[in-house]
């Protein structure tokens, strides 16, 4: 399954029943130099729209919302230790969390890559 995108500038990559979630390159560019990332603990359950993570640049703080319902199964400690990784590689090594998907139906509402490209154009 290919990558999905939200209007809040997150990407979601699905493998089996686990979704890897990050923020888009566009979002990282808009934020500027990321200096701080706060991630949830493994085992925490989220509903779609909940505050899930915090990302801060030199100037501003932003919330990252849960794009789907699910339980956190893994977090990317590398971006907590070195927040600049979010700017360097938002689409891949700068991922935020992996979530066990509760409701696969919710993925249907998200944008595909070309729709997201139009959205940010």
């Amino acid at each position: 399954m290919s990558r999905k995108f939200t209007e809040d500038h997150e990407w979601i990559e699905v493998a089996g029943d686990v979704a890897t979630i990050g923020i888009t390159k566009h979002a990282a560019e808009q934020l500027g130099d990321v200096v701080f990332v706060e991630l949830p603990d493994v085992g925490v359950k989220f509903s779609k729209g909940d505050d899930m993570a915090v990302v801060e640049s030199v100037k501003a703080a932003s919330d990252v919302y849960a794009p789907i319902d699910g339980e956190v199964v893994e977090t990317n400690g590398a971006i907590v230790d070195d927040p600049a990784k979010v700017n360097e590689d938002a689409d891949d090594k700068g991922w935020f969390v992996k979530v066990k998907i509760d409701n696969p139906q919710q993925l249907e509402d998200l944008m595909d890559e070309s729709a997201y490209k139009d959205f940010v154009a």
Binding site: D8, E10, V35, E56, V58, K59, A60, A61, S62, Y65
Partner: protein, 395 residues
């Protein structure tokens, strides 16, 4: 992902003014944002972090043309014997600084006061060097406050002085350890100027008022130049590979690391200069003589200590504590609020300033900052966060 509401100086009015260097900022791919009624570059493609570090290592060019520039001039007697003392006496009724004894060609940081001793704005006051200009003072005030400041100056000093607002002049700041070397190549002898002095100089068929000052904690200059020559001057400076254009984002992080107040945030009309921890701006003679707006409160606070005080704060860990963050004692009592906070690129970690109950203002005091509902341990620390590297002329 959504930005949390940020306190900004954004003027939401539909009509945003363009400054003389607008086209240059756009050609440099500056990210333009509303600021104090103007469209201003918050950053360039280099980004806030690298721009900040570049200023600390080399030299950066800032467009600060949105700031208010004005001449305050005696209605009568400019250039005559005793003219400076007259204009100084007038402005000293609303600023607490020593202006009478300010030398010719010297610049002073001061504050405009209301009758309650509150700070209406902070400003730079320059006494011109030329004998025939005595009786005049060159003022630079904050962009967001300039209309109010100019009205206040006219209201309070209008009987003896005229205010000439220089809306046709741009203001450029060249800041950083290489600023003097860069500018010396353009304007001979500029590197011999003392810090906080001003000279009238010529470069590229352009008259410049060159002040050796700034608001980054680094050595540097501010150049006041007519609007129609600003673009040529800015491009000539940017042609030097040591110079990069720097946006308002890095200007803010630089001044925060330097421990300098941003008016409207770290200091408002409710705060006295004593509370704002800028008592250095209150002259020695003024402390004994008084005679300025709000002197009763300010002299009392100098003698007895203020109830609250602006302090520097270093949060533990990496989470920045932003403006508006509640400050608590270790007992959980609310003792203050952060007024500026973020990440200091030179420090490599979070820094903040804010007001605390004066009982908690001593350096080293441990307290908590309530960030997203959770206490973040922090301690009071001396400012500036990074050493100021202002130029000191050899004696």
């Amino acid at each position: 992902m959504t930005n949390q509401p940020q306190p900004t100086d954004t003027d939401q009015a539909a009509c945003l003014h363009h400054l003389p260097l607008h086209d240059l900022h756009v050609s440099l791919e500056g990210k333009m944002v509303p600021f104090a009624g103007y469209e201003m570059p918050v950053q360039y493609p280099m980004g806030v972090m690298k721009e900040h570090l570049h200023v600390r290592e080399k030299a950066g060019l800032f467009d600060v043309s949105h700031m208010g520039q004005a001449w305050l001039s005696l209605k009568q007697g400019v250039g005559e014997e005793g003219a400076h003392e007259k204009i100084a006496a007038a402005i000293e009724t609303i600023v607490p600084g020593e202006i009478q004894k300010l030398g010719a060609g010297r610049v002073r940081y001061s504050v405009l006061l209301n009758d309650a001793g509150g700070v209406l704005d902070d400003l730079m006051i320059t006494r011109p060097s030329s004998p025939n200009q005595q009786g005049r003072l060159f003022l630079v005030v904050n962009a967001a406050m300039k209309q109010a400041d100019f009205l206040y100056l006219a209201e309070r000093l209008g009987d003896v002085a005229d205010l000439t607002i220089l809306s046709d002049r741009a203001l450029l700041a060249l800041q950083g350890p290489l600023a003097a070397a860069v500018l010396e190549e353009k304007i001979k002898t500029v590197s011999t100027m003392g810090f906080m002095t001003m000279r009238d100089m010529e470069w590229a068929q352009t008259s410049l008022m060159v002040s050796r000052c700034g608001y980054t904690g680094e050595d540097g200059y501010e150049l006041s130049v007519s609007a129609d020559r600003a673009d040529a001057i800015a491009r000539a400076l940017l042609a030097d590979e040591r110079v990069q254009p720097i946006g308002l984002g890095a200007r803010d992080s630089l001044r925060l690391e330097a421990g300098l107040c941003l008016y409207g945030h770290d200091m408002t009309a409710d705060n006295s200069p004593v509370e704002a921890n800028i008592s250095f701006a209150i002259g020695k003679r003024r402390r004994s003589e008084g005679g300025f707006a709000g002197a009763e409160r300010i002299l009392r606070e100098l003698a007895q200590g203020p109830k609250i005080l602006r302090v520097g704060l270093r949060p533990e860990g990496r989470a920045p504590a932003r403006e508006g963050t509640e400050i608590q004692s270790l007992d959980g009592e609310t003792i203050g609020t952060i007024t500026s906070g973020g990440f200091g690129p030179t420090i490599g970690g979070p820094i903040a300033m804010g007001y605390v109950d004066a009982n908690y203002a001593e350096s080293g005091t441990k307290l908590n900052l309530i960030v997203r509902g959770k206490p973040v341990p922090a301690r009071v620390c001396p400012m500036p966060f990074v050493p100021q590297r202002y130029y000191r002329a050899p004696k």
